[in-house]
């Protein structure tokens, strides 16, 4: 019974993570600007990665594998926002301006 519940939660994590990753991929392919593309990639990256790794942890059970998965999760949670921040700062230094539409009246 417990095994089945854990399997179910892990499958839900996988499906949600796959959906988020797919939306990030579509966003990086179809958004018009560099900064919007970075938004699509950077937002979905952390949550989808943590969801998939949590699903793998639920499958893995206790042991060294769980420790390695926690280590990967910790490292990605630390480095992914750092890389996004460095990328945005470098693009702003590189005179890459975002598209700004002022369509609303006033």
């Amino acid at each position: 019974m417990m095994e089945l519940i854990i399997q179910l939660i892990s499958s839900a994590c996988f499906i949600l993570g796959a959906l988020l990753i797919l939306s990030g991929g579509v966003g990086i392919l179809r958004f018009p600007d560099f900064f919007t593309r970075m938004h699509a990639a950077g937002i979905t990256e952390t949550l989808a990665t943590s969801l998939i790794l949590i699903g793998l942890m639920l499958i893995a059970g206790w042991g060294l594998v769980l420790f390695k998965l926690v280590l990967i999760l910790l490292f990605i949670m630390l480095t992914s926002p750092t890389a996004s921040h460095a990328l945005a700062k470098s693009a702003m230094h590189g005179k890459l301006t975002p598209i700004i539409h002022n369509n609303h009246s006033g």
């Binding site: 990086i28 998965l69 280590l71």
Partner: protein, 90 residues
Amino acid sequence: MLIMLAIVLLTVMFMALLRALLGPSIYDRILAVNLFGTKTVLLIAVMGFLFGRPEFLDIALVYALINFISVIGVLRYFEYSDNRINGSES
């Protein structure tokens, strides 16, 4: 379920590779390569579970380290260089 996850990861990696090939500016390419590297880490972990060999997680950990260091290094190189190769230079 793991097979579905691996297929989705491969699809997204293909999308990132497409963006890296046709991205207008150099930063688009770096962003796509960063995304590709993160998805590679996930794919290695999922493949390790799919083939029943979780020792692949060591490789995934090392790949995450190398990905981060390489992105920061390339960004440091392009941030302070004078002759930029911007496709969409305003």
